[in-house]
C-alpha cells in the first residue's frame, strides 16, 4: 500500500506535549533508520518549525470560537529516500493573500538571497509575542533546499484550508 511510506501522521489539536512526543518519536525512528546526521538534523529542524507554526497558530484568538478550526493535519513521509513533511490547518480567508505573497517571496529566492533575507528579518524584524517574528518559513525554505509547495482551499467565506508540503533535499 502506498501509505506504507507514511512514517507518522496526526490529526487534531497540537499541544506542547504532543509536539514533544512527535519530535521524540521521529528522532528515534531516524535513529533506527540510521539516517546520516545531516539529514536527521535537517528533518528535525524543519519538524520543529512546522509543529511550532501549527501550535502558535492554533493559539490565536480568532480560532477559539469554532472548535473544528483548531484541528490541524500533520504527516511525515519517506519516499525513495526523500523526506517530505506535510501540514494542514485552517486560516482566516482574509489572511490568505498575505500568506501567499510571503510564500511566493520566499520561493522566488535562491540560497544566497534567502540567507540575506533571513539575516535582515532576524536583525530588523519585529519580534512577535510568541517569538516567531516571521523567520519560521524562511528557515524552513533554507533548510529544505527546495521550493515550498502550498495550496489554499476556500472552505467558506471566512475560512480556508492551508496545506504546505516541504521536501527535504538529499
Amino acid at each position: 500500500m502506498e501509505q506504507g511510506n507514511i512514517m507518522l501522521s496526526f490529526k487534531g489539536e497540537v499541544t506542547s506535549d504532543l509536539l514533544t512526543s512527535i519530535l521524540q518519536i521521529m528522532e528515534s525512528k531516524m535513529e533506527t533508520l540510521e539516517e546520516p546526521p545531516k539529514i536527521k538534523k535537517k528533518v528535525y529542524n524543519i519538524l520543529v518549525e512546522c509543529l511550532q507554526n501549527l501550535y502558535h497558530h492554533l493559539d490565536d484568538d480568532d480560532f477559539k470560537t469554532k472548535i473544528n478550526e483548531k484541528s490541524a493535519l500533520f504527516m511525515i513521509r519517506k519516499e525513495e529516500g526523500e523526506y517530505s513533511i506535510m501540514t494542514g490547518n485552517f486560516i482566516a480567508t482574509e489572511n490568505v493573500e498575505m500568506m501567499k505573497s510571503r510564500l511566493d517571496t520566499i520561493n522566488e529566492m535562491d540560497k544566497d538571497e534567502l540567507k540575506v533575507y533571513y539575516k535582515e528579518v532576524l536583525n530588523n524584524g519585529e519580534m512577535s509575542e510568541k517569538g516567531g517574528g516571521g523567520l519560521g518559513m524562511i528557515d524552513i525554505a533554507r533548510k529544505s533546499g527546495k521550493k515550498l509547495e502550498y495550496n489554499f482551499d476556500a472552505i467558506d467565506s471566512s475560512y480556508s484550508f492551508f496545506s504546505l508540503n516541504i521536501k527535504v533535499a538529499q
Partner: protein, 127 residues
C-alpha cells in the same frame, strides 16, 4: 551577583553564567515554544553584569538545534555581549558546530555578520 545556572531539558539548553569568572555557557537544544520567557533571566543577568564586568569574558555556544523563536533571543544575548565588549570587558565568543553540520556553521556566520565581536568557529566531532 547575577549568576545563573539552568539545567538543560529536551527543549531548553543548559545555561551557566558566572559573573565572577566572566564565563557563559549555552549548551544543548533550544526549541522552547516560548523562548522570550526562557531567555529573560540570561538577558537580565548580562545587563547587570555589564555594569561590573571582568576584564575578559568568555562565551561558549554549543548548540545542537535551535528554533527560529530562539534565534531572535540568541541575537539579543549577543547584542548584550556586544555592549559588554564595547564597555570594559573583552568578549570572546566560541561557536561550536559538529563536523558536517553546515547549517549550524552557517547560523554562526549569520550572527557574526550582525554582531561586532569576532566569533571563533570550532568544529567538534559528532557524538
Amino acid at each position: 551577583m547575577a549568576d545563573l545556572k539552568l539545567e538543560g531539558s529536551p527543549k531548553t539548553p543548559t545555561i551557566e553564567f558566572n559573573s565572577g569568572t566572566g564565563y557563559l555557557l549555552v549548551r544543548g537544544r533550544s526549541i522552547p515554544e516560548n523562548s522570550i520567557e526562557f531567555y529573560k533571566p540570561l538577558i537580565e543577568a548580562l545587563e547587570s553584569y555589564n555594569s561590573n564586568s571582568q576584564s575578559n569574558t568568555k562565551v561558549d555556544i554549543q548548540l545542537e538545534y535551535f528554533n527560529t523563536s530562539s534565534s531572535k533571543c540568541i541575537l539579543d544575548v549577543f547584542k548584550k555581549l556586544e555592549a559588554i565588549n564595547s564597555g570594559s570587558s573583552e568578549v570572546v565568543i566560541n561557536w561550536y558546530y559538529e563536523e558536517d553540520d553546515e547549517d549550524m556553521l552557517e547560523a554562526g556566520e549569520d550572527y557574526q555578520a550582525i554582531i561586532n565581536i569576532p566569533f571563533k568557529m570550532i568544529e567538534v566531532e559528532e557524538e
